[in-house]
C-alpha cells in the first residue's frame, strides 16, 4: 500500500504536477461538509440539532410531511373513514383502485402510502435520535450549558410527536432511541409500550418547553412549544383505552384498554388527565377565533385558536399544500390559476351530519356544494355551461354517470391564496394541525365519559358559527359535532376508532373487521427486518 502511494506520487508529479500528491486518493468535499462544521457555534448547534427537524414537518412531496403531501399521512387518516372519498371518475382517479381500497378497508399490506408514511415518520425519528445523541455528547463535554437540555427536550417532544403518529397508525412499532442501532436491535414493542413511551417523553420534556404560541410569527413560529405538548398529552389521555389495548381485534372493535393514566407520578383517570391538559391549554390564553374561516385564510398566523401549524409561504418555505388542488374541478382550478385535479369529495355521511345540524353554516363554510364563482365573481364555466358540483351524486365509483366529473361536494375550508405559486401547491395559508376547537370538544368528551355534561363546550363551538345550541348532548352527538367542526382535519379516523365505529358500514361499504382499526406494518419493512411481525389480520 505504501509503495502504491509512493508510486502514485511519482506519477502524479510526472503527469499532473499536482501541488500535493499524497492526497491524490483522498477526498476533499467541496459542496458537502463534514459533521464537525455543523456544530461549530451555539447557533449552528441549534440549527442542526433542532431547527433541521422543522424542515421535515412540512414537505415537498413523496407522501412526506405531517400534513402529508399527496398519498401520505393525511390521506390514510382521511380517505379511510366516513367523511371523504376520492371517487373513481372514468379514467381519472382509478389509480389502480387505491382510493377505493382505502375507502372500502380492503387495503393491502404493500399499499404504497403505508410505506411512505412509515419511512417518513421513522426518518424524522432517526434524525431526532442523531440530534439527541449529539446533544448528549455536547452536554457531557459542557455540563454547565443551560441551552443544551432545552434543545434536547424540544427534540424529545418532536420525536414523541412522531411516535404518536406511528402509534396511532400502526400500533405495534419498534422503539428506536439511538442513532447507532443495528437491524437486529430493531424490535417491535406492543402498542401499550409505545403509548407509555410517548406519554413519558412528552411529560419529561414539558417543563423545558416554552409556553409561547407556536402559530405566531417570531422566535417560536412553527415550533414544538408547551401548548402543543399539552395538546398531544390530552389526545393520549382521551385515547388511553385505545392505545393501552394490545389486542384490538377482540371486543367487536370497541377499545377495552385501561383508563389509567400516569400523570405527575400518579395514576389518575384518563378523562381527568385529558381535562387537566385541556385546561392547561385554556390557561395559556387560547380561545376560539371570532370567525371560523379566519383560521384557514391568508394571515392565519394571527389566529388565536390555532395551536400548531405548518408555516407556509410561497416565497419563504418549500412546504407544499395539495388539498385544494386535489378537490376542485379542472375548470374551477383554472379560474383561480391553480391546478384542479377534480378529486376529493365529501361523503354522504358527512353531508347528512351537516344537514341534521340546525342553523349550521359549516357545510357552506367548508364545502363547495353547487355552482361556483371565480375570483372575479363570475360563474366558473365548464365548457359552455356553468360548473355545478353535485354533492349527492357522490359514490365510490361514479364512472359513466352524467355527473362523473362533478359528483361530490368539494373542500373549501382553506382560502385559495391569490398569490399562490407552483399551481397552488405553494401558498401562504399555514396548514392547521391542531386548534383550540378540538380542545373544547376533547374536554366535552372527557367530561361526558365521566358522566358529566359537555354541553357548555359543545355549544361554545356551535355558537361561534351561529348554529343552534344542543342540550343534553350524547356522546354520539359529540362525535357528529366533531365531524362537522373538524371535517377533513385528519382527526376522524382516530375519533371513530375511539368510539368503536371505524368498522361500521357506510354508504357503499359493508361493515369491516376490527383488525382494520390499525394499519398493516408495511410489507417491505417486515420482509427487510426479520424481527418484525405483521399486525393481526393482515
Amino acid at each position: 500500500m505504501k509503495k502504491n502511494i509512493i508510486y502514485s506520487c511519482l506519477l502524479a508529479a510526472a503527469t499532473f504536477a499536482l501541488p500535493s500528491c499524497s492526497s491524490f486518493l483522498e477526498e476533499n468535499p467541496k459542496d458537502q461538509m463534514p459533521e464537525e462544521e455543523a456544530y461549530k457555534s451555539p447557533e449552528l448547534i441549534y440549527l442542526n440539532t433542532v431547527a433541521n427537524l422543522y424542515t421535515q414537518i412540512g414537505a415537498t412531496g413523496g407522501g412526506e410531511g405531517l400534513a402529508g403531501t399527496d398519498r401520505g399521512l393525511y390521506d390514510i387518516q382521511t380517505f379511510t373513514n366516513d367523511e371523504a372519498l376520492l371517487p373513481t371518475r372514468g379514467g381519472d382517479w382509478e389509480d389502480g383502485k387505491l382510493w377505493q381500497r382505502l375507502y372500502l378497508h380492503t387495503w393491502d399490506k404493500s399499499e404504497a402510502p403505508f410505506k411512505s408514511v412509515w419511512d417518513y415518520l421513522y426518518k424524522v425519528i432517526g434524525l431526532s435520535n442523531q440530534s439527541i445523541d449529539k446533544l448528549n455528547s455536547l452536554m457531557e463535554a459542557d455540563p454547565e450549558n443551560i441551552y443544551l437540555p432545552v434543545y434536547k427536550a424540544e427534540v424529545q417532544a418532536i420525536r414523541a410527536l412522531y411516535y404518536y403518529q406511528l402509534l396511532d397508525c400502526f400500533g405495534r412499532v419498534p422503539l428506536v432511541e439511538k442513532s447507532d442501532v443495528q437491524i437486529s436491535d430493531v424490535k417491535q414493542s406492543e402498542r401499550s409500550e409505545v403509548y407509555n413511551f410517548v406519554r413519558k417523553e412528552l411529560q419529561e420534556a414539558l417543563p423545558y418547553l416554552n409556553t409561547a404560541n407556536s402559530t405566531k410569527e417570531g422566535e417560536y413560529y412553527g415550533r414544538m412549544t408547551r401548548p402543543v405538548a399539552f395538546f398531544l398529552l390530552a389526545k393520549l389521555a382521551l385515547n388511553a383505552q385505545v392505545y393501552s389495548d394490545d389486542d384490538w381485534t377482540d371486543n367487536g372493535g370497541a377499545p377495552n384498554g385501561s383508563t389509567d393514566f400516569e400523570m405527575n407520578g400518579q395514576k389518575v383517570l384518563c378523562w381527568d388527565a385529558a381535562i387537566a391538559y385541556c385546561d392547561s391549554i385554556s390557561n395559556l390564553g387560547y380561545q376560539l377565533s371570532s370567525t371560523y374561516s379566519s383560521n384557514f385564510s391568508v394571515g392565519n398566523e394571527k389566529s388565536v385558536e390555532n395551536i400548531f401549524t405548518i408555516p407556509m409561504d410561497p416565497a419563504k418555505y418549500s412546504a407544499q399544500f395539495y388539498y385544494i388542488i386535489r378537490t376542485v374541478h379542472y375548470a374551477h382550478g383554472k379560474a383561480y390559476s391553480i391546478d384542479g385535479w377534480n378529486g376529493a369529495s365529501a361523503s354522504k355521511e358527512l353531508l347528512a351530519s351537516f344537514r341534521k345540524s340546525k342553523n349550521d353554516p359549516r357545510l357552506e363554510l367548508c364545502f363547495f356544494t353547487g355552482k361556483v364563482t371565480g375570483p372575479d365573481g363570475a360563474p366558473v364555466m365548464d365548457g359552455d355551461k356553468e360548473l355545478e358540483y353535485k354533492p349527492d351524486a357522490v359514490a365510490v365509483d361514479v364512472s359513466g354517470i352524467a355527473d362523473e366529473k362533478t359528483a361530490g361536494a368539494r373542500w373549501k375550508k382553506y382560502e385559495i391564496d391569490p398569490a399562490s405559486q407552483s399551481a397552488g401547491k405553494l401558498q401562504s395559508v399555514d396548514f392547521v394541525l391542531y386548534r383550540y376547537a378540538d380542545v373544547l370538544l376533547m374536554k366535552a368528551e372527557a367530561k361526558m365519559r365521566k358522566g358529566e355534561s359537555g354541553d357548555n363546550e359543545i355549544n361554545e363551538v356551535r355558537g361561534r358559527v351561529g348554529a343552534d345550541a344542543l342540550s343534553k348532548a350524547t356522546l354520539n352527538d359529540l362525535l357528529d359535532e366533531r365531524a362537522r367542526e373538524l371535517s377533513w382535519e385528519g382527526v376522524r379516523r382516530q375519533d371513530l376508532v375511539r368510539f368503536g365505529k371505524f368498522c361500521d358500514a357506510v354508504d357503499g361499504r359493508p361493515a369491516t373487521q376490527p383488525y382494520c382499526t390499525v394499519f398493516p406494518i408495511p410489507h417491505d419493512v417486515v420482509l427487510l427486518n426479520k424481527n418484525l411481525s405483521q399486525n393481526k389480520g393482515y
Binding site: E37, L47, S110, P311, S337, A402
Partner: protein
C-alpha cells in the same frame, strides 16, 4: 464556442502547415521511373503509396494505378497499400515497372491497438474485433456508434425512433451491473472518454473501431473496462501524399408509420353511438399528430486535408452534421473539428504525436416525449389547431393528464454540448526494442441546458405563468500515463513486455437556476431576471471530483507463431471508495493456439488460419458510486424559520456506507477464429461466462434503523453467459462482380443470482420485487401498474404481470381483462407477490446483424439488416389507447369503440412477442472513372441510400425497436413515448483530390 474552436484550430493548422511546408524537400534526381500498380484481378490500385526507400520522396498512384517518380538510379522504391502485401523493388536504372500487389488475405499483421499495447493481430490471444472503415455502415450516419451498428456479435447498438436529438445506446455482452457503468469505455487515440466524447468526432474521421469484449483484454483498463472497451483510432496524416477530401450526404426524412387514432368524424360518431353526454366538441377536425409534423432533412459534410512525409505529417478536418426532425422544432447540429500532427526526430528515435478535437452539439428537443406524444395521440380531435384569441391554446378542461400538443411544441428545450480535447504523446526508443512513452490528455466538456415553458400554454400556466431554467455542467478530465515497453524476438520467441503508471483526475461542477412568473414570452430562457418568482432551491450549484491512480504490467509471449500467452496485472486506486477499500487488483490471462501453424495442418491449402483462444480476467466497476458516497457528510436539507428568519438547515442526505468497494466482474472466454479457402470464408465463435460479484446497488434497507430506505452497498451477484458467432463469406469474386455476405449472431443469458449479503455484520436482503417501470397516464397514477421488474433468479428486466384470461363481457356490454386468480386463494389481488407471474424478458435472447454487399463493375450495393429475438414488449400504448373508460376525454384507437374495453388493468393481455428483423439501409454506390473527368481528382464516389427500409415483425405497436437493453423505467415498455418512425432518403458524395 464553436467559432472559438474553429479559429483556434484554423490558426494552429496554419502554423503546422507552414512548418511542414518548410520541411518539404524535393530534389531533382537522376531518373524518372513510371509504373502501374494492379491487384491480382487486374484492377488498378488507386492511391497506393510509392516511396523512395529511406527518404520522404514519394507519390501515390492515380485512378489507373499509374505513378511516376524521380529517384536516383541506384535506389529502391517501396509500394504499399492498406490490406495488400507491400513490395520493395530495386530500381537499378529500370524506368518502367508493372507491379501486382497481392492482397494480404491473412490480414494477420495488421496493426491492432489492444489497450495500451500496439501489436499485430497475430499475437493477440483475447477476443478482439476490429472494424475498418470499409466495413462501417454507410447511408445516413449521424453518430459514430451508428457506423458499427449490427456489425459485431455481442455488441448491441440501439436507437429509437426518428428523433434527431436522441443518441444510440450500446451494450457489450449485455448488462453486467445494476447501477451504472454499463456503457463501455471509449478510448479515442489513447484518450479515455464516454459515449458523449465519441460524439465529438465526425463519423468519417474514424479509421477503425476495435472492440475488446472479454476480460482478458479489457482487464488492461482495470476499473474502467468492465463493460467492454471501444478503442477508436482516427484518421491521421499519411506519408507521401497531399490530400483533400470532401465527404457529404444530404437526405430527406419522412414519417412512414404513425399511430392513427379516431379522426374527428369517427370520434363524433363514437360519441353519438356510445351516448356520451359530456363530450366536448370544438367544432373542428384536426389531426394533431399531422399538425406537428414537417419534412425532416439531414445533412452531413466533412472536409479534411493533410500532407506529410516520413518525418512529419498533419491532418485537419472540419465537419458538420445537421438534422431537422420531422416534429416541428426538433433539430440537431453537431460541428466538429480535428487536428493531428506527428513528427519524428533524432533518427526516428523520438516520435511526437499531437491531436486535438472539439465539437459543439446543439440539440433542440421535443420536451418530454411521453407527455407530448401521449397528448398528440389522445387529444380531442374536434378542437381546432389554432390558438385562442387570448393567446392560449384550446384545451379539454377534463383532460388533466394531457396538454394541447401544439402548445407543447412551443416549449423551448435546448442543449448546448461542447467538447474540447487535446492530447499528446512522446515516444522515445532507447533501443529499437525498448521504448518509453509519456501520454497526457485534457478533456473539457460544457453542457448547458436551457428550457422555457411559455406562460400561455397549460404547462406554463401550471408553473405560475411560465418557467425558465438554465443549467450548466462542466467537467475537466485530466489523464496521463507513462509506459515502458520492450519488444523482442529471440529465435522463435516473441516477447512483448509493458509497464504502466497512470493517473486520472475528474472534476465536475455545475450551476442551475429556475425562474417563474413571466409577463412576456419574449425573453424565453435568455433573461431569467424577467421571471418574478425565484424560491429557495431554485438556484443550485455543485462541485465534486475524484481521482484514479493505476499501475499495470503486461506480458505478451509467442512461441513459433503457434502458442501465444498474455498476462495483464493491473491495480487501480479510486478516491471514491471507502478508506480501506481504495485499491482493487484486476489480473487477467489468456492463451491461444494457432493450430493452423502446426505441422499437421500447415500444408492443408484450404485452411488459411485457425486460432483457438481462452482467457480469464477480472475487471472492476465503481461508476455507480458518486464522489463522497463513502463519507458521512452534511448537505442543506431545507429551509425553516429560526427566530423569525428564514434559515437553511443541514443534515445527512443519504445513508453513508464507509465500506464501499469495487464491484468485480470475472469473465471467462473461449473462442476460435478461422479463415478458410484463401479467406473466402472466415469467422469466429466465442463462448463467454461472466460473474459480477459485490454488485453495487441501492439496496432497500429497513427504516429504522436506517434513515433512508436506500443504501448503496456491495452485495449481490449477477451472471451472464453467451455465444457469439460471426461469419463472412465471399462466394463470388471476379473482376467485374463481387458478392460478400457477412452475418453475426449472439445469444445471451443473464441472471440476477442474488441481492443479499452481509453489510457491517447485518444481514441485508432487498425487496423481492423491484419495480423498474410502470404504465403512466390518466387513471394509472399510483395504481398497481408495475410492468417491468428486477427479481433474483431472473434476468434483469422481466415482465411480472397478472394473467388475463381474455376479454370478458362485464354484463353491461363492455369488456374487461378478467384477471386470473393465479395463487388460487379465492381472491384476485394484483399486488406484487400475489396474482402475478413472470411472463417473459425484455432483453432479446438473440441478436443478429447481417450485411450483403455486391459490386458490379463500378456500381456497388449494400444491404444491412439487424434483428432481435426471444423477448417481449409490453404494449402500454395500446392498453391506454384501447381503454374506453377514458373516452371521450381522451381519444382512442379506431378499434376501441367497437371492442369496448373498459379496463386499464395492467395484465399480460398486452404483452407481445418483440421479435423483429429490420432492414436498416440499402445503399447504391457508384465510383466514377475520374481519369475521364480530371487529372486533379483522385476519386469521386456517389451514393444513394434509403435508411429504415422495413421492419418485419408481428408486434402490433408502432415499432418493436424500443429500449430493450438499457435497464431503466422504459425497458421493454412501449408506453406512448415513441417518436414517429421516419425513413430517410439520401444522396452522398465523396470526392478526393
Amino acid at each position: 464556442m464553436k467559432q472559438k474552436i474553429y479559429s483556434c484550430s484554423a490558426r494552429v493548422s496554419l502554423l503546422v502547415l507552414i512548418g511542414l511546408l518548410c520541411n518539404f524537400s524535393i530534389f531533382a534526381q537522376d531518373i524518372t521511373v513510371r509504373g502501374n500498380v494492379k491487384d491480382v484481378t487486374g484492377e488498378p490500385i488507386i492511391g497506393a503509396s510509392v516511396l523512395q526507400v529511406g527518404t520522404t520522396n514519394g507519390i501515390i498512384t492515380d485512378v489507373d494505378g499509374n505513378f511516376s517518380l524521380t529517384v536516383p538510379g541506384n535506389s529502391s522504391i517501396n509500394i504499399s497499400y492498406i490490406g495488400y502485401i507491400p513490395q520493395t523493388l530495386a530500381v537499378n536504372g529500370q524506368t518502367s515497372f508493372n507491379i501486382i500487389l497481392k492482397e494480404d488475405v491473412e490480414a494477420l499483421d495488421e496493426v491492432v491497438v489492444v489497450g495500451y499495447a500496439t501489436g499485430s493481430k497475430r499475437t493477440i490471444s483475447g477476443a478482439v474485433e476490429k472494424i475498418k472503415k470499409e466495413d462501417m455502415n454507410v447511408g445516413v450516419v449521424t453518430n459514430p456508434l451508428e457506423s458499427i451498428k449490427g456489425k459485431v456479435a455481442g455488441v448491441v447498438i440501439n436507437k429509437q425512433g426518428g428523433d434527431p436529438a436522441s443518441t444510440p445506446s450500446i451494450r457489450v455482452r449485455g448488462t453486467t451491473s445494476l447501477s451504472g457503468g454499463n456503457d463501455p469505455l471509449v478510448v479515442i487515440d489513447g484518450v479515455f472518454g464516454d459515449l458523449g466524447l465519441l460524439n465529438a468526432l465526425s463519423p468519417s474521421d474514424i479509421e477503425t473501431f476495435t472492440i475488446l469484449k472479454d476480460a482478458s483484454e479489457t482487464a488492461q483498463y482495470g476499473s474502467r473496462g468492465a463493460s467492454g472497451v471501444i478503442v477508436v483510432t482516427t484518421t491521421k496524416g499519411k506519408a507521401g501524399a497531399v490530400s483533400l477530401n470532401y465527404d457529404g450526404t444530404f437526405g430527406v426524412e419522412s414519417v412512414y408509420k404513425n399511430i392513427d387514432m379516431l379522426n374527428a368524424a369517427q370520434y363524433r360518431s363514437a360519441v353519438e353511438v356510445g351516448g356520451y353526454v359530456n363530450a366536448l366538441d370544438g367544432g373542428a377536425s384536426t389531426n394533431f399528430m399531422k399538425e406537428m409534423q414537417r419534412t425532416g432533412f439531414t445533412q452531413n459534410h466533412r472536409v479534411s486535408f493533410g500532407a506529410g512525409n516520413e518525418q512529419s505529417n498533419y491532418r485537419a478536418s472540419i465537419g458538420v452534421i445537421a438534422q431537422d426532425g420531422i416534429i416541428d422544432g426538433s433539430d440537431m447540429r453537431n460541428y466538429t473539428a480535428k487536428l493531428d500532427a506527428n513528427q519524428r526526430m533524432f533518427d526516428d528515435r523520438l516520435k511526437i504525436e499531437f491531436g486535438m478535437f472539439g465539437s459543439k452539439k446543439v440539440n433542440n428537443y421535443v420536451n418530454d416525449h411521453q407527455k407530448t406524444f401521449y397528448s398528440a395521440a389522445s387529444f380531442n380531435p374536434t378542437l381546432p389547431a389554432a390558438q385562442n384569441v387570448d393567446g392560449t391554446w384550446p384545451e379539454d378542461p377534463n383532460a388533466n393528464e394531457i396538454d394541447n400538443p401544439l402548445g407543447r411544441l412551443t416549449i423551448q428545450d435546448k442543449e448546448d454540448n461542447a467538447y474540447l480535447n487535446a492530447h499528446g504523446k512522446l515516444s522515445f526508443n532507447f533501443t529499437p526494442d525498448l521504448m518509453l512513452s509519456v501520454f497526457g490528455s485534457y478533456t473539457y466538456n460544457e453542457k448547458i441546458n436551457s428550457t422555457y415553458i411559455p406562460n400561455n400554454i397549460k404547462a406554463g400556466i401550471r408553473e405560475g405563468s411560465g418557467k425558465a431554467s438554465k443549467t450548466q455542467k462542466n467537467s475537466d478530465v485530466l489523464m496521463g500515463n507513462i509506459t515502458l515497453s520492450y519488444k523482442k524476438d529471440f529465435g522463435k520467441n516473441h516477447v512483448d513486455v509493458l509497464g504502466l503508471m497512470e493517473g486520472q483526475s475528474y472534476k465536475f461542477n455545475g450551476f442551475g437556476a429556475d425562474a417563474r412568473g413571466f409577463g412576456t414570452n419574449y425573453f424565453g430562457y435568455d433573461n431569467l431576471k424577467a421571471g418574478a418568482n425565484v424560491k429557495y432551491g431554485d438556484v443550485t450549484s455543485y462541485a465534486n471530483s475524484y481521482n484514479i491512480s493505476s499501475f499495470m504490467a503486461r506480458l505478451n509471449y509467442m512461441f513459433d507463431d503457434r502458442y501465444i500467452a498474455t498476462v495483464n496485472l493491473r491495480t487501480d486506486g479510486s478516491s471514491k471508495l471507502g478508506e480501506n477499500n481504495k485499491w482493487g487488483f484486476f489480473p487477467s490471462a489468456s492463451a491461444a493456439w494457432v493450430i493452423s501453424n502446426e505441422a499437421f495442418l500447415k500444408d492443408i491449402e484450404q485452411i488459411t488460419n485457425i486460432k483457438i483462444r481462452a482467457g480469464y480476467g477480472l475487471t472492476g466497476n465503481q461508476d455507480a458510486i458518486s464522489p463522497y458516497n463513502s463519507l458521512s457528510l452534511m448537505q442543506p436539507t431545507g429551509i425553516t424559520t429560526v427566530n423569525g428568519q428564514q434559515t437553511v438547515t443541514y443534515g445527512y442526505a443519504r445513508n453513508a456506507n464507509p465500506d464501499l468497494k469495487w464491484e468485480t466482474k470475472k469473465m471467462f472466454d473461449v473462442g476460435v477464429d478461422f479463415s478458410l479457402l484463401d479467406s473466402r470464408i472466415s469467422g469466429s465463435v466465442d463462448y463467454y461466462n461472466s460473474r459480477t460479484t459485490d454488485l453495487l446497488y441501492e439496496y432497500a434497507v429497513p427504516v429504522p434503523p436506517f434513515l433512508y430506505n436506500k443504501l448503496l452497498a456491495n452485495l449481490g451477484e449477477m451472471q451472464n453467459n453467451g455465444v457469439e458467432i460471426a461469419l463472412s463469406g465471399t462466394p463470388v469474386q471476379t473482376k467485374d462482380f463481387d458478392l460478400k455476405i457477412s452475418a453475426n449472431v449472439s445469444y445471451q443469458k443473464n441472471e440476477l443470482k442474488s441481492l443479499s449479503g452481509t453489510y457491517m455484520g447485518q444481514e441485508l436482503s432487498t425487496s423481492e420485487y423491484m419495480r423498474l417501470g410502470s404504465i403512466n397516464g390518466a387513471g394509472f397514477i399510483g395504481g398497481n401498474t408495475g410492468v417491468i421488474y428486477q427479481m433474483v433468479g431472473q434476468p434483469v428486466g422481466v415482465f411480472y404481470l397478472p394473467h388475463s384470461r381474455g376479454l370478458v363481457n362485464d354484463g353491461l356490454g363492455s369488456y374487461t381483462y378478467q384477471v386470473e386468480d393465479l395463487d388460487k386463494n379465492g381472491t384476485v389481488d394484483i399486488n406484487d407477490g400475489n396474482d402475478r407471474y413472470v411472463a417473459g424478458q425484455a432483453t432479446p435472447k438473440v441478436f443478429m446483424g447481417a450485411n450483403i454487399s455486391m459490386r458490379y463493375k463500378r456500381f456497388d450495393l449494400q444491404v444491412q439488416m439487424s434483428g432481435a429475438f426471444g423477448h417481449k414488449i409490453y404494449n402500454g400504448t395500446s392498453l391506454t389507447y384501447m381503454n374506453m373508460n377514458t373516452f371521450p376525454t381522451y381519444n382512442v384507437l379506431p378499434d376501441a369503440p367497437s371492442m369496448n374495453i373498459k379496463d386499464n388493468t395492467v395484465t399480460d393481455y398486452w404483452l407481445e412477442k418483440g421479435d423483429y428483423v429490420n432492414i436498416d439501409y440499402i445503399t447504391l454506390g457508384y465510383n466514377f472513372n475520374v481519369k475521364k473527368i480530371d487529372k486533379v481528382i483522385k476519386n469521386i464516389r456517389l451514393t444513394a441510400s434509403v435508411n429504415n427500409v422495413h421492419t418485419f415483425t408481428n408486434y402490433s405497436g408502432l415499432s418493436p425497436m424500443i429500449n430493450n437493453t438499457v435497464v431503466g423505467s422504459d425497458m421493454g415498455v412501449d408506453d406512448k413515448r415513441f417518436y414517429p418512425l421516419t425513413r430517410t432518403y439520401s444522396l452522398g458524395l465523396n470526392i478526393t483530390f
